[in-house]
């Protein structure tokens, strides 16, 4: 099976976020970066499918030059080769623009299965995979917890709300967006890290005419406020009042 996994480089969760001067993105000049978490699970799922069914895992990433580090990591964990779409504007690009950049570089490869993370840890749109599927002209399914392959078809388990699941059968080629935590990630071994140096990375310049569909006007940090509301009265009166407040004002019960 020829599998593509899309991975994004995002600012690490430990990084203390500060809004940049233009107030349209975060200050990431000295930030440390990591592989977007759901993407790491997508990669692991792809490696497991390859172990079961054979084939090839190609890691695809769109981003600025520094994204080479997550590509290297994916190769060290076991991907066979990489396609890296480079473009300065891709760091904070919207989902459609990233998907267009990826689709242009991936189309000719004729992947049988494309895996992406469910969403990215930075903007959290959960759109890139879906738009990419449309651009590649293949069906997709989202929030996938389990993937089974048999006779050229897929059976996938989707997460619904409230602890419900749905099994879906679909043809290949297809695109799946993978949920975090569905498998156990492997480590990049010392040998894997060395071997990654020798693996093929095809670097593609992003097309110059990509246009953003979305503009960030301003980023605002939610303000923390705390109000203390003292409830007076006898214990039974106070309890009744508390329940009323929780139900009608806070709407938590």
């Amino acid at each position: 099976m020829k599998i593509a996994v899309c991975v994004k480089q995002v600012v690490t969760r430990e990084w203390p976020l500060r809004v940049d001067e233009a107030r349209t993105w975060v200050e990431d000049r000295d930030a440390s970066f990591e592989m977007n978490e759901p993407d790491a699970y997508a990669l692991e799922e792809a490696l497991r499918l390859r172990e079961q069914h054979g084939g090839e895992v190609v890691v695809c990433s769109a981003g600025p030059a520094r994204a080479a580090q997550v590509v290297r990591e994916a190769l060290a964990r076991g991907a066979d080769r990489a396609i890296r779409v480079e473009g300065g504007g891709l760091a904070a690009a919207d989902a459609a623009m990233v998907a267009e950049a990826l689709a242009a570089a991936m189309r000719d490869e004729q992947f049988e299965l494309v895996l992406t993370g469910l969403q990215s840890d930075d903007q959290g749109f959960a759109q890139t995979g879906v738009v990419l599927a449309e651009l590649l002209g293949i069906p997709h399914a989202t929030i996938i917890m389990e993937v089974q392959v048999a006779d050229g078809r897929l059976r996938v388990k989707r997460e619904l709300e409230g602890g419900w699941f749905q099994w879906v059968s679909m043809p290949t080629p297809a695109l799946l967006t993978i949920q975090s935590g569905i498998n156990q990630l492997r480590y990049a071994t010392l040998k894997g890290i060395m071997a990654a140096k020798r693996k093929e990375v095809r670097v593609v310049e992003a097309a110059a005419d990509l246009v953003p569909r979305q503009e960030i006007l301003e980023i605002r940090v939610p303000e923390k406020t705390k109000q203390t509301h003292m409830i007076a009265g006898s214990p039974s009166e106070a309890a009744a009042e508390l329940v009323k407040v929780l139900r009608e004002e806070a709407r938590v019960i």
């Binding site: 580090q69 290297r72 480590y187 071994t189 040998k191 890290i193 060395m194 140096k197």
Partner: protein, 382 residues
């Protein structure tokens, strides 16, 4: 000059850190209290490549360089110095000795299982009467039909009760002093190779340390390691590299102790403020961080020189001396910053403080490092 880690080195640090935090952190105190190195860790360490970090791939190693090796040991020591010591002794002593001075056949037969993590290696130089003065060994190797017979006893051998492969130094020609010592490879379960009493230690308790008796132990001729009479000289070369590993261990341990102190200082409030807001605590943390940084770069430089094929006797000794004494100081200040909580086992400061003392003793005490440095310094000026 370029002080930046490569992309591979950043990835290596990230991967070993992830491994240490996931696989080692949960059991740190359990292993310490039980004084045991769980052999169940071997496949995990070996799987990652940590049992053969610098050896060529044809022997199952990961073929990394000395600077990379430092990064691995540092990251293990940041979480569990005892496991880092075992990994460093396995890689840097027994395995390194076979790799450096073994024949092709010996490497294939004895190094490959070590590098793959099939079993642990032990390296026995120290004896009860020959510690710092390692040239005055009493264990003897007598030439017999088809090989050698070894008699004597060793002390403080890391992994003596657990190892699969031992490298043992013994006197093959008493008349020639340090030039009459040879090295031998001995496999576990060889008749006459008897692990002795396990030490009950202050720190590094999860790393096995025990005595070793050689009771008329027959070693076939093809298990002589290196040339006859070169065993001590070769051992000193092994230690030149091994000391870089202990320096890296000290740096990682200090890093772990410093991070724990920083965490505590920002969380602990006294007099209505986090204690990190007091200048007395800030200055401690500033000194700790600065010294660690200096120790780290001294260590990396020794490793960098080694990677370029240089003899690093002086640089290794300097790195080991400075890094280990820095680590002792940092671990002590770590306890101090924790106050009473640094004195109890619920916080990591206490264990770092116990473990750290080995670093100024093992693979040559601080005094011996100073002797080595002084000798090199005075000779160079003469």
């Amino acid at each position: 000059m370029d002080f930046r880690p490569t992309g591979e080195q950043r990835l290596l640090r990230q991967s070993v850190r992830e491994f240490a935090e996931t696989e080692l952190a949960p059991g740190v105190m359990v292993r310490d209290e039980a004084q045991s190195f769980p052999l169940s860790l071997l496949p995990k360490l070996g799987g990652l490549g940590l049992m053969g970090i610098q050896f060529p791939e044809r022997y199952g190693g990961a073929a990394l360089e000395a600077v990379d090796y430092c990064i691995c040991i540092e990251e293990l020591a940041r979480v569990d110095p005892a496991i880092a010591l075992s990994v460093a002794a396995h890689n840097g002593l027994a395995s390194a000795h076979i790799h450096l001075f073994g024949t092709e056949a010996q490497r294939g037969r004895h190094l490959a299982p070590l590098a793959r993590g099939r079993h642990l290696g032990a390296w026995a130089l120290t004896e009860s009467n020959a510690g710092s003065d390692a040239g005055s060994l009493r264990t003897t190797a007598r030439r017999v039909e088809g090989g050698w017979r070894l008699n004597g006893s060793k002390t403080f051998t890391t992994h003596a009760s657990l190892a699969g492969t031992f490298v043992v130094m013994a006197v093959s020609d008493a008349a020639r002093g340090a030039r009459g010592i040879s090295a031998f490879i001995i496999e576990r379960d060889t008749p006459g190779l008897v692990p002795g009493r396990k030490e009950n230690k202050l720190g590094m308790r999860a790393s096995d340390t025990a005595g070793l008796a050689l009771d008329d132990c027959f070693v076939p001729a093809d298990q002589l390691l290196g040339e006859t009479g070169r065993g001590f000289i070769d051992a000193m070369r092994v230690l030149d590299a091994g000391r870089i590993g202990i320096a890296a261990l000290a740096v990682g341990l200090a890093q772990g102790a410093c991070e724990a102190a920083r965490r505590h200082a920002t969380q602990r409030e006294q007099f209505g403020h986090p204690i990190a807001s007091f200048q007395a605590i800030q200055f401690k943390l500033a000194d700790m961080a600065t010294r660690i940084e200096a120790a780290r770069w001294l260590t990396y430089r020794a490793a960098w020189l080694k990677d370029r094929g240089r003899v690093t006797t002086r640089e290794s000794a300097m790195a080991k001396l400075f890094a280990s004494e820095t680590a002792v100081r940092v671990a002590e200040e770590g306890v101090q910053i924790h106050g009473g909580y640094g004195f109890v086992k619920d916080y990591p400061a206490e264990k770092f403080f116990r473990d750290v003392k080995l670093t100024t003793i093992g693979e040559g005490t601080s005094e011996i490092q100073r002797l080595i440095i002084a000798r090199q310094y005075l000779d160079a000026d003469a």
